[in-house]
């Protein structure tokens, strides 16, 4: 019962936050795409591409980087400024790119 309650609660959050692809696109353009590209990364880049990746995975990874439960000098800094809403938008945007 508790679990159900939590998941309903989560669902309502995500629909309230109705992750905007446009907001995600503009955030990704200024925060992520410099290194990770939009559809692909540079042939020379050491960074993983984000396009088409699983949305939930992207959200989890970004939260971990932000909260410093996953350590990376550069990602902890860059994700540090993102709100939950930003993270949802970005994950939603990148997961839809092909």
């Amino acid at each position: 019962m508790k679990l159900l309650f939590i998941s309903v609660f989560l669902l309502s959050i995500s629909s309230v936050q109705a992750a905007s692809i446009y907001a995600g696109k503009s955030k990704a353009a200024v925060v992520c795409s410099q290194c990770h590209g939009v559809r692909t990364t540079s042939a020379e880049a050491p960074f993983p591409p984000l396009a088409g990746r699983d949305k939930e995975y992207l959200k989890m990874a970004l939260r971990q980087y932000r909260d410093k439960t996953r350590l990376s000098e550069i990602m902890n800094n860059i994700a540090g400024s993102l709100t939950d809403k930003d993270i949802n938008n970005i994950a939603n945007y990148y997961s839809r790119q092909k």
Binding site: G37, E44, F47
Partner: protein, 519 residues
């Protein structure tokens, strides 16, 4: 007397720095190599700046090393500066900051005819083995559009010249260029050949039928300037580093090296970057702009390659375009915000015309409207937010209008069959995503297109039906619009696309003039 003192000072400084360097030669030369391999293609081999700012002890004085280190790690948004995190070791990034902040702008490193000859590489020994017609479907070779794909890091596997069939919007060939491709020039006499020049001054001769590079040569350290003669027999290439230009034959064999120096309009003898180099359908000549000396030189393509020097053209010349069957040359001068009309027959200045703030005409554009030949000039700068595109009557050589646009502009595109002159807004905010379209008749901006990415270097297909625009930086695509409806019709993926060059240009000389008869 003054000159002697100056030489002595330079000598002393040189001797002093030799002593200072002696202790750390090894480390310094390692750092120099690291700089050459990662930074020099944009910031200049002499640390003096090129398409990116100068980075040396003078320009970086007082800058926080921590801030510089993060800038190198993350790159700089809305510019071509890529993130070096993960590509360079942190220790190297820190050492680079130290090295840059302690290294003055270097003297011109030598690059002689001997060095050039040694750098000549031949990829196809027997050119008779090349196919006699294109190995891909294309109605006319004029339909080819070449895009300089810089590659995110200005070098490596992303750096290519990419050729597209502008009727189908499909890629028909890719030439790896090692470092960022900058200029693509087509042989006007033989549709088989194109020449690609990189930011590190290599020239690739490309067989467009098989889409293969047949040979290459390194003509300097940095500099995009390249021209092809009207008969396709000669090339001329100019460098920012070092300050020289070279005439080559179509086998890329260097024939004559020309040192670029002269007295500038303020009476000072200066050594000069090479500005634009242009061949013209008007005569067997090249014209070259000496950026800092403010002179335009006309080189005759005959024995000894004699040079006519046109002096006092302007302060800091850069690029130019041709009009009147290639007899008149319109040269942009950055520092005094003028465009100078030169008659290539008399080799004299016709008139100096007012432009906007820091004129950068790109390839220029000229269109015939109601019997008048109108030239369009873009302007880089944003003085007092007074951003305009300049329009001149090229018959009477007078200013017609300074059309207000939303920001600084870099390159205009026009076509005889297309209704609009397209200009790229480059001001570094959201406006950089847009191009603006000027109606040829009303001379007003009638539409703003959001291209996404950093939109620049618009170019029409040879038939005028499509408008190609690079969406660079993080955009990584070339976007194609219908010239009339302005609807997006295609997107072509590539890494950091910049300059776009239609082979149609050899027919109309300057974009916007008739493709059917030379105007």
């Amino acid at each position: 007397m003054k000159k002697i003192i100056k030489v002595n000072q330079t000598l002393m400084a040189g001797v002093a720095s030799l002593f200072l360097l002696a202790g750390t030669v090894q480390a310094k030369s390692d750092m120099h190599q690291l700089y050459e391999d990662n930074c020099a293609s944009c910031h200049g081999s002499d640390h003096g700046g090129y398409i990116a700012p100068a980075i040396n002890s003078e320009t970086l004085k007082g800058r926080s090393p921590t801030a510089l280190r993060s800038l190198i790690m993350t790159g700089s948004f809305e510019t071509l500066m890529p993130p070096f995190y993960g590509r360079l070791k942190d220790a190297d990034i820190r050492a680079m900051v130290k090295y840059l902040q302690s290294t003055p702008k270097q003297n011109n490193p030598p690059w002689t005819i001997k060095d050039m000859k040694k750098s000549l590489k031949i990829y196809v020994k027997d050119e008779s083995t090349l196919p006699s017609k294109p190995i891909y479907q294309i109605d006319s070779m004029d339909d080819l559009i070449g895009v300089a794909a810089r590659g995110k890091y200005g070098r490596g596997n992303g750096s290519k010249a990419i050729f597209i069939n502008s009727k189908t919007h499909k890629i028909v060939g890719e030439i790896d260029t090692g470092t960022a491709a900058h200029i693509i020039d087509f042989d006007p006499a033989n549709s088989r050949w194109a020449y690609v020049k990189t930011d590190t001054a290599e020239i690739y001769k490309v067989d467009l039928f098989s889409m293969k590079a047949v040979r290459s040569i390194k003509t300097g350290y940095n500099g995009p300037a390249l021209g092809v003669s009207r008969d396709g027999k000669y090339l001329m290439a100019g460098s920012f580093v070092p300050h020289n230009a070279v005439i080559l034959n179509s086998d890329l064999e260097p024939l004559k090296l020309i040192e670029l120096e002269g007295v500038d309009p303020d009476g000072k003898m200066v050594s000069s970057d090479s500005g634009m180099i242009i061949g013209t359908p008007f005569a067997d000549i090249f014209a070259i702009a000496l950026e800092n000396a403010g002179q335009v030189w006309v080189v005759d393509l005959k024995d000894g390659f004699p040079i006519t020097k046109i002096k006092n053209v302007g302060r800091h010349l850069h690029d130019a375009f041709l009009t009147h069957k290639g007899r008149k040359l319109m040269v942009a001068s950055y520092d005094d915000s003028i465009v100078i009309a030169i008659d290539l027959k008399t080799r004299k200045i016709i008139k100096k015309l007012k432009a906007g703030c820091v004129p950068h005409v790109g390839g220029g554009a000229a269109v015939k409207v109601n019997g008048r030949t109108l030239g369009f000039g873009t302007n880089f700068g944003t003085c007092n937010n007074n951003t305009v595109v300049s329009v001149w009557d090229l018959d009477k050589m007078e200013v017609v209008k300074q059309i207000p646009v939303s920001g600084g502009t870099e390159s205009p595109a026009a076509h005889a069959n297309a209704p609009y002159v397209a200009v790229d807004i480059i001001t570094k905010d959201r406006r950089a995503r847009t191009i603006q379209l000027i109606d040829k008749k009303s001379l007003k901006v009638v539409k703003t297109l959001d291209v996404g990415g950093h939109a620049y270097f618009p170019e029409y297909s040879a038939d005028g039906k499509f408008l190609y625009v690079s969406a660079g930086y993080a955009g990584d695509e070339v976007v194609v619009f219908d010239s009339f409806s302005l609807k997006k019709v295609a997107s072509i993926q590539m890494e950091s696309p910049a300059g776009i060059f239609s082979r149609g240009r050899v027919k109309y000389m300057t974009r916007g003039l008739s493709p059917d008869e030379m105007e």
